[in-house]
Subunit: 628 residues, 2 copies
C-alpha cells in the first residue's frame, strides 16, 4: 500500500504551451518537476532530495528561459541528478519514459553521465566543473563557435582544491563565456558547511580570483533572472552567482530551515523518503501546483498513481560492515590513545559518529578536501599519532593518491579506510562504484591492503592494522548490508598473505574477498555441489596485495582449475596478483587460471540487477565455472 | 681543469662565534652558504641554483635567529634543497661532510627527505606544505606541546589547488602556530609566473581565507626580521609573509632581474652552471664575503679548492627521447589540426617548445595545476579536440589520477604523456623518480600504456596513439639521454601486445621496455653470451599493460626461464602483467618466472650508482640471471 504519483508529459506540455509570464510558468514547472523528482527517488529507493530541490529553480529557469543555441549547462556536484533529469524530462529534452528508470540498468545513472541525452559532462569526485567549462570554451574559441557555458557547483564542493585551482586561468584568459552558479544551500553531506569546514568570505574570495561576483536568492526566480541577466552583460571576466538556496526547498518539512534547534544532521541529503514522508511531501506539492494553476485559470493536475514496487527483504541474516567498523573503531580508540580519526564529510556513512562523540578531541573533520586530509595525516603520524583517515574508496584512493605516496615515502604509519568499496551499491553510478582503488594504491611500498568479508573479520582487520602491522594499511569496506551465508571458523586468525577455506572441493578453487564476492562464491559452491556434483573450494583471502606462495601452493594442491573473483576491475585487482603468484610457483603441470571481475567502467542499476549483468552473482558464477 | 671551491666548517664557526650584530652576522653567513650551495650543485652536476639563492636570506635568518626549542621549519617547494642543506651544514645542524654528497647514494637527496637530520617533512609534488604544518600543530595541541611551524612555500606552488584547499581549516581552527613564508621570486620552472598562470592579487586572496598577511623583501634581512617579528605577535590567525625575492639572488648575472629584455627563459632554475659560470659566480661571492668580513674587522675566507670530478661521457651514440618526442609532436601537430597540447609548467623538459612556437593557438600552458589541466583535457576531447597533456610522470599519474579516470568514464580520447619516467635520473630523489605511475594508471579502462625504447620508437608510439588507437593512451618517456646499444629492425612495426626480439637465445628470455632497461638487458645478453655461453633472448615489449597471449606463448617457446625487467616497482609493473599472462597460458610444464625491478621507494644518487645499487645494470642482471 505505497502509492507513487507522477506528472504526465501532457501536464508539462500544456504548461509550456500556455501563454504565461516566464516567472509564473517556470514557477509552476518547478513544482511539477519536484513531484516527479520525488517520484523518481522513491521509486529508485535512493537519490538526493535535498540538493535536487535546492537547485530546482536554477535548473528550471536556465532550461526554460536562458539557454540559447550553442549554450550548455551542466552540474558539477552531481547529487542533484534526479532534479536535473526531472527538468530535462519535463522540458522534453530527455525521453519521458526515463522517469521510471532512475538508477536502473539502461536508465538514468545516479550521477550524471554523458550517455544520457542532455548531459554534457560526467561528474566524478567534486571540484572539476570550472576546469571542464574552461575546456569547453577553449574548444569553442579554437573552432570559432559562440556559446555560454553555465555550470552549477555545490557549495560543499568549494572545499575541494581543484575548484580554486581552476579559477585562476579562467580569469587570466578572460573567459566571460563561463557563468558559474553556486547552489549555496549551506549543508553538505553530513551537516552544516560552517561546522564542517567554513568557507569564509566567498565574495572576497571570488573577487580576489578576478571573477565577477553576484549573490542572489536561488529559489526566487525573479532574483535568479536578474542575476543571470547581469552576468550576461559582463565582458572580460568569468562570472559567479552565489545563489542562496534552501536545501529541500519546496516541501515544508524537508526544508533545511525547518531543522529544529539543536539537531545536527539534515535528514534528506540522500536516501529515499519513508512512505509517510513521501505521501505528505507529494500532497503538499500537488496542492501547491493546483493552487498555482488555479491562479492562472488552468485546470488542476492530472496525477498518475502507481504502486511502489515492493523490495524483497533478504531472508537470511544481514551483516553490516560499517556498523561493525564503527564499533571496532570505538574499541581501538579506547585503548590506543594516540589514535586520531579523520573524516572528509562522510562521518555517518563511514561509521565515525561513535568515535567522534566519545573522543571529540581526537576526531578531525576535514571537509571535502581529501588531499589536505591525507597530508595532515602524514604529519600527524610523524608526530607520534596513529591517523585513521576515512572517505569513500572512490574518492580516497585516486584523489589523495600522491599524498598517500608521499606519506609512504616518510615511512610513517597511517591507516586509510575506504568505504563504499566495490561494484555495489550500483545505484549511485560509476563515480561512486569504487572498482579501481586497489589498482590505484598497488604501487605504494609498505602499504598492506585488506578487505574483511563479514562483521567478525572487520574488527580483526582493524586490530591487525592497529596492533600487528608495523607499516601502513589500506582497509577496504563494502558499505551495503549483505546477507552472509557462511561462517568463519571460530579459530580463524589473520596471517599475512593467507586465506581461509570456507568449503571443501577438489574440482576447482576460487579465491575471493569481501562480503559480496565471498558470499556469491559460497552460494555458487553450494549450487555446484548439490546440482552438479562439482566440488568448488571457496577461499576467503582478505589480503588484497599479499599472497604467501607456500600457502597458495598448499591451497591449490592438486587442483587444476583456479578462479579469482574480484570486486574490482581485473586490471590491478587481487586476481592479477594471484595469477602472478601462480606463475612464480612454477607448477610442473598445466593449471587453468581464470579471473572473474570487471573489465569496464561499471553500469549503474539495482544491486542484484548489476551483479547478474556482470555474471558475478552465484548463478552467473555457476554457469561460468561449468563453461570451464 | 675545473676547480671547485668550498667554505670550511671553521669559517662558519668563527662567524657564528663572533660578536656581531645579528643582521651583519647573518648577511656574511648567507654569502658563505651561497658559495657552498654552488659548490654542492656544481659537484653533483645538477640542482636548483635559482630558488636556493632566492630563499637564502629566509633560511639563514630563520635558522640563525628565529627557531627556538619546539619550533620547526620546513620547505614545501623542495627545489631549494641545496640552499637549505648549505645553511643546515653551516649552522652545524647537519654533518659537515655531507657538503660533498649532494645527490649521492647515502648523501643528501635532491629533494628533502626526513632521513636527513634537520629535515622534518618530505616534499612530493607541490602544495602539501600547509596541510603538513596543520598536522604538526594539531599533534602538538593534542600533546600539549608548544612550538611554531615555519613553512616555506614557492610562489609557483600557489598554482596547486591543495595549497588553497589547505588554507581554510588553518584559519577556521585559528592555528596561529603556523607561519608561511612565500618565496616570491616570480619565476617558476619554465618562466615568469605571470606568463604561465598569473596568481593575481595575493594579498586579497590570503586575506579572504582569513590569514594574516604581510609583504616584505625576502632578500633583505631587516625586512624579514620585521615581518617575522610582527607574525609572532598575531594571535588567532595563521600568518603568511609574502617575501619578494630575486631568483638567483646574490650573483649578479644569475639574478632574474638581469634577464635581458625579450628573453623568455630564466637559465638558472635547474642544472649545474658551466665551469665559466661557476668560476665567475664563486669569485663574485668570495669577494663579497671578504669585503663584508673586512668591514667588521675579520680575516678573509680560507677557501678550499678541489678539482671537479670529471664525468666520463658515454662512448656510444646517445639517444635523446625527449628531443625525438619534440620532433614527433611537431609532425603530428602539423597533420592533425584538432590536436592541442597542454603543459603544466614543464614545457622545456617535456619537449613542447617547437609545438608551442609553431602552433601557439593550440598550446595551452596550465601552470602547476595537473588536476585542472586534465579535467580541461576531457572537455576539450568531448568538444572534438585531441588533447595531448604533459607533465612529469611522477606528477601526472598520481596528482591527476581521479581526473584521468573521470575522462575515461566519458570514453573520450585523450593522450597523456609522462616524462622523467622511471628510476633515472636518480639525482632528484624519490619525489621525481616515477616508479609507480604504471601501477597508478593500471585500472583505467580503455587506457593503453606505451613506452618507447629509443628515438625511432618514440615517433612510432606517438603515431600509434594519435592515428591507430581509438582510445586513450598513456605514453611513458625516459628523459635522460642514454646510450642505446641495439637497433630496432628496419621493418619493425607496433602491434598491440606484441614485442620484438633483439637477441636470439634459448636459455632464457627477458622482457623489458624503455631505453634504460632494454639497453641494460641487451648488454647483459652480450656478456652472458660471450663470457658464459648463455643465450638470453631480449624482448622489447613497449606495451605496458597489454600482452598478446599467443605471441607470448610463441616468444617463450620452449624456454623455461623467463625474466621481466621493470623500470618501476614490481608491484603493478609490466612484469606482474607478464606473470599473470604466463599463468593464463597454463603451460603444461614448470617455467621459472622471475621479476627484476624495484621493491621499495628508490634511493637518490648518480645514475650508474643507483642502477648498480639495485642490480639493474647489465652486470647486476648478468649475475642475477646466473644465480638463477
Amino acid at each position: 500500500m505505497c502509492p507513487l504519483y507522477y506528472i504526465r508529459k501532457e501536464d508539462f506540455t500544456r504548461i509550456l504551451d500556455a501563454e504565461l509570464p516566464s516567472i509564473k510558468q517556470t514557477q509552476i514547472f518547478s513544482v511539477l518537476a519536484r513531484i516527479n523528482t520525488l517520484y523518481m527517488i522513491a521509486r529508485a529507493g535512493s537519490g538526493h532530495i535535498g540538493s535536487s530541490f535546492s537547485s530546482m529553480e536554477i535548473f528550471a529557469w536556465v532550461y526554460l528561459n536562458v539557454l540559447r543555441e550553442g549554450d550548455v549547462f551542466f552540474s558539477s556536484k552531481g547529487h542533484d541528478a534526479p532534479g536535473l533529469y526531472s527538468v530535462l524530462i519535463g522540458r522534453g529534452l530527455l525521453e519521458y519514459e526515463n522517469i521510471h528508470k532512475l538508477r536502473r540498468l539502461g536508465g538514468l545513472p545516479g550521477h550524471p553521465d554523458i550517455g544520457t541525452p542532455g548531459i554534457v559532462a560526467n561528474t566524478g569526485s567534486l571540484g572539476m566543473g570550472v576546469s571542464k567549462a574552461k575546456g569547453m570554451v577553449l574548444a569553442n574559441q579554437l573552432d570559432g563557435r559562440q556559446g555560454q557555458v553555465y555550470m552549477l557547483a555545490g557549495d560543499g564542493e568549494l572545499q575541494e582544491g581543484q575548484f580554486w585551482e581552476s579559477l585562476l586561468s579562467a580569469a587570466n584568459r578572460k573567459l566571460d563565456q563561463i557563468t558559474v552558479i553556486v547552489d549555496h544551500n549551506k549543508i553538505q553531506s553530513d551537516t552544516w558547511i560552517k561546522d564542517v569546514s567554513d568557507l569564509g568570505d566567498l565574495e572576497s574570495k571570488f573577487k580576489s580570483y578576478g571573477w565577477h561576483f553576484q549573490r542572489c536568492n536561488g529559489n526566487s526566480l525573479e532574483s535568479l533572472e536578474k542575476a543571470i541577466n547581469v552576468a550576461k552583460t559582463i565582458k572580460g571576466k568569468p562570472q559567479v552567482i552565489l545563489a542562496d538556496t534552501v536545501k529541500g526547498c519546496g516541501v515544508s518539512f524537508m526544508e533545511s530551515t525547518s531543522i529544529p534547534e539543536g539537531e545536527v544532521f539534515y535528514k534528506y541529503h540522500s536516501g529515499a523518503p519513508s512512505p509517510e514522508q513521501y505521501e505528505s511531501a507529494t500532497k503538499e506539492l500537488i496542492n501547491k501546483a493546483d493552487a498555482l494553476l488555479k491562479e492562472v485559470g488552468m485546470q488542476p493536475l492530472n496525477i498518475t498513481m502507481v504502486e511502489r514496487e515492493v523490495v524483497v527483504a533478504p531472508k537470511g541474516k544481514v551483516q553490516k560492515l560499517i556498523a561493525a567498523y564503527e564499533k571496532a573503531l570505538l574499541e581501538v580508540g579506547s585503548r590506543r590513545t594516540n589514535l586520531v580519526v579523520q573524516d572528509a564529510d562522510l562521518m555517518i556513512d563511514c561509521g565515525l559518529l561513535s568515535f567522534k562523540n566519545s573522543y571529540p578531541q581526537r576526531f578531525f573533520e576535514c571537509g571535502i578536501a581529501e588531499q589536505d586530509m591525507i597530508s595532515q595525516a602524514g604529519a600527524l603520524a610523524l608526530k607520534g599519532k596513529l591517523p585513521v583517515s576515512h572517505s569513500f574508496a572512490c574518492f580516497l584512493a585516486p584523489r589523495a593518491n600522491e599524498q598517500i605516496y608521499n606519506n609512504a615515502s616518510e615511512k610513517s604509519k597511517c591507516i586509510y579506510v575506504g568505504s563504499l568499496a566495490g561494484l555495489l551499491p550500483a545505484g549511485p553510478g560509476h563515480s561512486h562504484q569504487s572498482v579501481r582503488d586497489i589498482s590505484a594504491l598497488r604501487g605504494m611500498p609498505g602499504l598492506l591492503m585488506l578487505e574483511p568479508c563479514c562483521e567478525k573479520e572487520v574488527a580483526m582487520v582493524l586490530d591487525y592494522a592497529v596492533d600487528t602491522n608495523p607499516n601502513s594499511t589500506y582497509i577496504r569496506l563494502v558499505s551495503i548490508p549483505y546477507e552472509i551465508p557462511f561462517v568463519l571458523p571460530s579459530d580463524y586468525g589473520l596471517k599475512e598473505g593467507e586465506g581461509i577455506c570456507l568449503t571443501e572441493g577438489h574440482d576447482a578453487v576460487i579465491f575471493a574477498y569481501g562480503p559480496v564476492m565471498v558470499s556469491e562464491a559460497y552460494k555458487a559452491a553450494k549450487i555446484l555441489e548439490s546440482d552438479h556434483g562439482f566440488g568448488l573450494k571457496v577461499v576467503n583471502l582478505p589480503w588484497l596485495n599479499a599472497v604467501n606462495l607456500e600457502w597458495l601452493d598448499a591451497t591449490i594442491g592438486s587442483i587444476n582449475e583456479v578462479y579469482a573473483l574480484d570486486n574490482h576491475l581485473l586490471s590491478g585487482g587481487q586476481g592479477e596478483i594471484i595469477g602472478n603468484a601462480i606463475a612464480r610457483l612454477a607448477l610442473p603441470r598445466k593449471v587453468d587460471f581464470v579471473q572473474f571481475g570487471l573489465t569496464e567502467i561499471p553500469e549503474c542499476g539495482q544491486n542484484q540487477e548489476i551483479l547478474m549483468y556482470y555474471r558475478l552473482d552465484s548463478v552467473g558464477l555457476v554457469s561460468r565455472i561449468l563453461e570451464g
